[in-house]
């Protein structure tokens, strides 16, 4: 049954450009997949390692900036991809070494500060990043000679990367390393007693998370052909975190659902109102206060509670009649 559902979902995804038709909606779907890859990567840290970070957009942005710089220097797509991901890994390692000096709230504060440094560099180091104007690239790369200029083609390319990311996450979750990462979240002292190097486990989880954020950042660059300081702002990190939390942390499907939800909300919100940031903040507050377990399980719980309340109120009336 589960396999059948998976096969149907895959078939629907792969044929999406045929039954959607309108290239606007195909592009929205592409964005969902790109952000789903970012959310999947972030979930490794937030969900499985229990380390909440508010600087993840910086890693996403480093990949995009490095990619843009390399493309404009005239390098081919393989050099661009490898270079951008290497740059992301180096920055991720620096983030990890510094942020892992604190745990819990200290970790959050340090990641905010580190994210703001990257933002400051993107905004102020004009000779490197072109400041507020950002960097544009003129062409989408052609990996292995395949043209990616149409919405359909780019969707399929993103889908392939997305599926690889999902597979990597499934392998990660089932692997001994995944179990060790969850162990450091739940029982760090016991893990130390068992002979695990808690710091190293968290460090590697951070690298794994940063790698997929970098992949998403590169896709983002190819899709938009533009990157600016807005990409690495605190609100971008918060958006990514919202995707993970909204969908439900430490689940494989949660971040994907979260990314889809946030992109839909952002799309709908920006079509009808200008106040996306207000809506983003309000959703944050509502989710954290009323549905700490995530939007999908939270809605189910609230629905059951509402139904239960309705029945509860209906019963005394019935008793009176009897």
């Amino acid at each position: 049954m589960k396999r059948l559902a998976l096969a149907v979902a895959l078939l629907l995804l792969a044929t999406l450009p045929y039954w959607v038709g309108n290239s606007y909606y195909i592009n929205v779907a592409t964005q969902m997949l790109i952000y789903a890859v970012l959310a999947l990567g972030l979930n490794v840290l937030v969900g499985y390692a229990g380390l909440v970070t508010l600087g993840h957009a910086a890693l996403f942005g480093v990949a995009a900036y490095a990619g843009a710089t390399l493309i404009n220097a005239g390098h081919g797509h393989i050099v661009v991809a490898i270079g951008a991901l290497l740059a992301t890994l180096v920055v991720t390692a620096m983030f990890a070494v510094l942020a892992l000096r604190g745990t819990g709230l200290g970790f959050v504060m340090i990641t905010v500060a580190l994210g703001q440094i990257v933002w400051g560099i993107a905004y102020r180091w004009i000779s490197l990043t072109n400041g507020d104007n950002g960097i544009s690239i003129t062409v989408r790369p052609r990996p292995f000679g395949l043209p990616l200029d149409s919405a359909d083609a780019f969707f399929w390319a993103t889908l392939v990367v997305f599926l690889i990311a999902v597979a990597a996450m499934a392998i990660f979750v089932a692997s001994p390393f995944g179990a060790a990462v969850r162990g450091t979240r739940d029982q760090p002292r016991r893990m130390t007693a068992l002979g695990y190097n808690v710091w190293l486990t968290r460090f590697l989880a951070f690298l794994f998370s940063g790698f997929w954020s970098g992949v998403a950042g590169l896709l983002y660059l190819y899709y938009n052909q533009f990157v600016s300081p807005q990409t690495v702002a605190l609100s971008a990190s918060a958006e990514a975190l919202l995707m993970v939390i909204a969908g439900g942390t430490a689940t494989l499907l949660g971040p994907i659902a979260g990314a889809v939800l946030v992109i839909i909300m952002k799309d709908v919100a920006s079509a009808y109102i200008e106040r996306w940031n207000f809506v983003l903040g309000a959703i944050f507050v509502v989710i954290v206060i009323f549905m700490p377990e995530g939007l999908v399980p939270g809605s189910v719980r609230l629905w059951r509670w509402a139904v239960g309340l309705a029945r509860h109120q209906a019963r005394p009336v019935a008793d009176e009649r009897a």
Binding site: V52, L54, V97, L98, R101, G102, G104, L105, G106, F107, V108, M109, I110, V112, A113, L114, Q116, I117, W119, G120, I121, Y123, R124, W125, I126, S127, L128, A233, L234, S235, A238, L241, I245, R275, N277, F278, L280, G281, A282, I283, F284, V285, V288, I289, P292
Partner: protein
Amino acid sequence: MNLWLILSVNSVTLGGLLFLLSAGFSLIFGLMRIPNLTHGSMFMLGAYFGVSCIAWGFGFWTAALLAGVGVALFGAVIERFLLRRLVGAELAQVLVTLGLSFMVADVCLMQWGGDPISVETPSALRGSTAVFRLAFPTYRLAIIVIATAIAAALWVLLDRTRLGAMIRAAVDDPAMARVVGIRVSHLFTIVFALGAGLAGFAGVIGGPILSVYPGLDQDMLPLALVVVILGGTGSLLGSLVGSFVVGFLYNFGQAVFPELAYVVLFLPMLIVLVVRPQGLFGRVAL
């Protein structure tokens, strides 16, 4: 007057403003264990409140006090009705403060528009004052005096009064403080309102120097974070030293390495994190 002297005066002034901002941040973190991400918003909100009060015809200093009280009330409401619901879930509290900061920023944009608003220096403090035969801008000296006075008042409050003793007890051991009859949850509201009010007040008196613009909150919050990570949480002395270090780094960094000002600003924080994670004057690690 030579450039370095001007930079130094500006650095000390910014340090004074940062102290007003980060003392509250540090106290809130020390007592409630919340990195209050609305703290930059409180600064900006205070500045905008001040602008409106001045537009309604109040004097500069009245406006600053009114804005401080207004923001303190706003902080008390947030603490009492939102953060109180999430006691014990610190992470949830951080996320709520983050969400609120976006909402405040957007409401300010809606209410006061996207253009920077400059605040006039109060007329009595325009011009310059001669100190040791050197001319200093009077208003900047006034900020330094105010910050020093508030630092002294905070020190007296924390070290010499009953309320301060209760706050210190609650910072050190909240459970034991409750056992001996201190209503720690009341202290939470008081400290959160006090911190917010100080930030709001700082926003107004910083207005003539920084002006008020959308994004001011996002500019100030990282500075407060750096101060607190540098100086150590829950320590007034740490906030004071950290503020002046950051004030100097910010001004000199922008003058000497304009493109890398942000990196210069954050470097000492990184070094402190690696060498001494509890901060220069903090007692416990982050």
